[in-house]
Each structure stands twice: as structure tokens, then as C-alpha cells.
Symmetry: C2
Subunit: 263 residues, 2 copies
């Protein structure tokens, strides 16, 4: 990744880039509106959520539909197009963690009962590339592959510990509202103590314990246990930290599989 201070094209909010870059971001913002809870959306809803003029949305939908990235139903709602099928197997194969890693993650779920995620940093975001859901009815679930903020959450503090200076510059430009000095202190503290615990930073009532996964001495990912804050009580946190640390050490020793070429 080439970071350029003069290239604001990696902004996440499409409103802050220009021209063609903005169009690509708008397209991705629109495609992001579709998830398991909202597989179809009416035009009206897409206009509201993208905060774009209706004419722009209609034009964008027509473009995406022509490219097979969006499809419409007979009832006038829109969803993901069949073209995504083209990338399904390839992206899964490329980002698959080793069977050994998945086994350690499942064992960690068995031990804690809570959802386990493996996060990596991508540019100035964090992304879960593997998830094993917890065993309880009320559990933490994130969308694998979705970009989450690097300014919030336990895994963010772990991953930022290994982030180069340009990532901090991006954060400064994108998140003027965040106290980066405070975040730097938290990141430094996390690196020193070896784990991070957060409660409700990104979402009220959601807690997480995260530790680094190292390969060849470098932090390449973060393993976390997440669940409702009500179960992350003081008397349990210690056990969670121990369990996730053990698991991360096993994964660090064995490796994550072929996905490491990206990390």
C-alpha cells in the first residue's frame, strides 16, 4: 500500500474525495447497505441512507445493475447482483485461515462461550476475516469482511500497536473528533500489558478482550473474545484474558496459513 499525503482517495466517506474516486466510494457505500438483515431495499430507503440526491442514486443503481452488481426484484426493491458470485470462491480461498487456526478458535469458544474473531488491519480500518460464534443466545456477531473503525474497540488498540506512521496520519485526517493522543496512550499501554479490554466503545453493551497474534516477531492480527458487557464482569475478565492469550500463542506458533502473505 502506497500512502500519499496528497492522495486523499483512501477516505472512507465518499463525500470527502473527488471525481472518479468519489463515484467508486459511493458505489461501495451503496453496496454496503445490503446485509443479512437487509438483503433488499427500496429506492426510497437507499436514497435516505446514502444521503445522496435521488437522481444520483437512480443513476448509480442503473450503473451497478448494468454491471451485475445490483439486481432488482419485481416489487421495485434492490439487492446484490449475481456478479458477486464470481468473487465468492476466490475471496474465500484467499482469505481463509488454516484449519489449525479455526480449531483453536473453536476451542476458545468452547472455553469462554463467547464469540471469537480474528481481526486484521486493512489500511486505516480493521476487518474480521474469521469468526466463530458464541454458544449463548445473546451473542456478539460481526459481519466478516466488514470494515470497522480503527479508533474503537479492543482489537483496534492491539492492531494500532503495529501500525506505521501513515496510518496515524490517515486517522488524524478522517477522525478529527477522536483524541488521538489519548488513543496513542491506550495503544502503548496495550502493547506493554499484552492485551486490551473494552466495554461499549463501538456499541453500547458490547465488550471485548483482544490480544496480538505475532508472526516472525511482528503483530499481524488480533484475536478477540466478544460478548455482552453483562458477562464481562471483573471476576471473569481474568479468565478470558488467559484463554485468549493461550489461543493466540498457539496460533502465533503454528501460523495462520496462506493468508499470511497479505499480513
Amino acid at each position: 500500500m502506497v500512502y500519499g499525503v496528497d492522495m486523499p482517495m483512501t477516505e472512507t466517506a465518499s463525500g470527502r474525495a473527488d471525481g472518479g474516486v468519489r463515484s467508486i466510494m459511493r458505489a461501495v457505500d451503496l453496496l454496503d447497505l445490503f446485509d443479512a438483515e437487509h438483503p433488499w431495499r427500496p429506492l426510497r430507503e437507499i436514497v435516505t441512507l446514502t444521503e445522496l440526491p435521488k437522481t444520483t442514486v437512480v443513476r448509480l443503481l442503473a450503473t451497478l445493475e448494468g454491471l451485475g452488481l445490483v439486481a432488482d426484484r419485481q416489487d421495485g426493491t434492490y439487492g446484490l447482483g449475481a456478479r458477486f458470485l464470481q468473487w465468492v470462491r476466490l475471496s474465500e480461498a484467499m482469505w481463509e485461515v488454516s484449519e489449525g487456526t479455526r480449531r483453536v478458535m473453536r476451542e476458545l469458544v468452547d472455553r469462554c462461550g463467547e464469540t471469537v474473531n480474528l481481526y486484521i488491519r486493512q489500511d486505516a480500518s480493521r476487518v474480521s476475516i474469521a469468526q466463530q460464534e458464541g454458544t449463548t443466545t445473546v451473542r456478539s456477531v460481526v459481519t466478516v469482511g466488514a470494515q470497522l473503525p480503527l479508533t474503537q474497540g479492543a482489537t483496534a488498540k492491539v492492531l494500532l500497536g503495529a501500525a506505521p506512521a501513515p496510518v496515524w496520519e490517515l486517522l488524524e485526517r478522517r477522525h478529527p473528533e477522536v483524541d488521538l493522543a489519548a488513543l496513542r496512550r491506550e495503544v502503548a499501554g496495550t502493547a506493554e500489558i499484552g492485551y486490551s479490554v473494552t466495554h461499549g466503545e463501538r456499541e453500547l453493551g458490547a465488550s471485548s478482550v483482544a490480544v496480538p497474534i505475532r508472526r516472525h516477531g511482528r503483530v499481524v492480527a488480533s484475536l478477540s473474545v466478544s460478548g455482552p458487557t453483562s458477562r464481562f464482569t471483573a471476576d471473569r475478565i481474568g479468565g478470558y484474558v488467559d484463554a485468549v492469550t493461550d489461543a493466540a500463542q498457539r496460533i502465533s506458533a503454528a501460523g495462520l496459513g496462506s493468508v499470511e502473505v497479505f499480513l
Copy 2:
């Protein structure tokens, strides 16, 4: 889908659109370069294949990388980013055909030995949304989800039989090299006889037999059997036509499942 003669934004070749639309098309053209045979590509290769200036490609890659759609390896090659994981389950779930349809397709493979595909029309392209591979070493394989031309191949002639006028207008604009009058005659003949047989239209040495799948009296998809031309001999074609027609009638009667909302 709103077709507009004054909206050339649905052109497939990015060179023929303008502004933001072109950027989105270029981005998709670039992402299309990655497939099972080419999961990673060096910058040099991407520049050559996209036929874009190197500076444009570098800028585009930086944008896509910032959005998590592209990732780079330590050796300087690029591949699909982890963000695609976000759409994997959803797109698979949305475009999944019913278990009954898959069973009929597998039985058709057992009967013919050749690869079976279920194609739909999307805008002015055709796309396989389900595939059962043949049982022989030399077999026909297409990428499920990939946009293929509606001007070539047996399933194209079946699907065009149900295409509205604006689709023909798009084909006229996009494929000035194609004799559309001749194609119209072939499509009419296919509709009359109920099947289409092609040899080497899209790829030398590849043959196909295709028939329509109808729902509520309307052609919504095309079922095909494809393989090397050397096995699609005159004495075998009749059997293939019978087999694929039987299978299509069973699918037409039972339905394709929830994917029908898009068809």
C-alpha cells in the same frame, strides 16, 4: 431496470462511458482480472490488461485498497481484498437455486457426462448462477457469476427470445460488429424449435445445447449442457437435447426457488 437511451452508463467497456460511471466500470474491470487461475497479479500485468495509464492504475489500486476491495502481498502483487467476504454469504444466499433444481442438474450431468449450467439474462449480458461440472477430464467450466456476451452461445439465443426491446438496443450500441438481423433470425428459430445448439461460437472447440426454463409462461432462465465439440457429434446431439429438455421441464414445473424474485 430502467433502460434509458440517453443513459449510456450501462456500457460494459469502461472506455465508452463518462466520468464517475467510467471510474466504477474501470474498478470492476480491474477486479475482473482476478480469478482462480490468476488470484494475484503484479502491477505491470494489471497495467497491460486494463490498457490504462500506469498512473491511473496506481491511483485506482490505492482507492480499491483503501476500500478493502484489493490487497497487496509483500512481493508487490495484488489480489482481492477481505471486504469481499462481507458479500459472500449474502450473495450466495440470494442467488442460490433450490435443492430440487440442483438435484435435477446433477442428474443431467449423470445422464450426459457434460457440464450443466443455469444461465439468466442480466441487462445485456448472460450469467451462470448455478453449475454442475461434467464427469470427464476435459470438461467445460465457466466462472459462476461472470458476465458473458448475449450475442454468442446457445443460452444467449434462448434468453434473447424473452428479452424486451431495450436489450436489443443496448446490443446494437455495444456490438456494432454483430449482425443483429441474423441473430434475431436465430433467436426466432430457437424459440420455434425449443432449443439451441452452438459449436465454437464463443470459444473454439466448445459446444453447447440449451433450452428455456419457463415460469408462469415466461422464459426466466436457460439450462445448458456444454462440453468439447468433439463429443457433441450428430449422433449424440439428439440425446443431449432430449435430456436437457426433460430436465428443464422438471425445473420449470417445480420452480427455481427464492432466486425467482429476480427473474
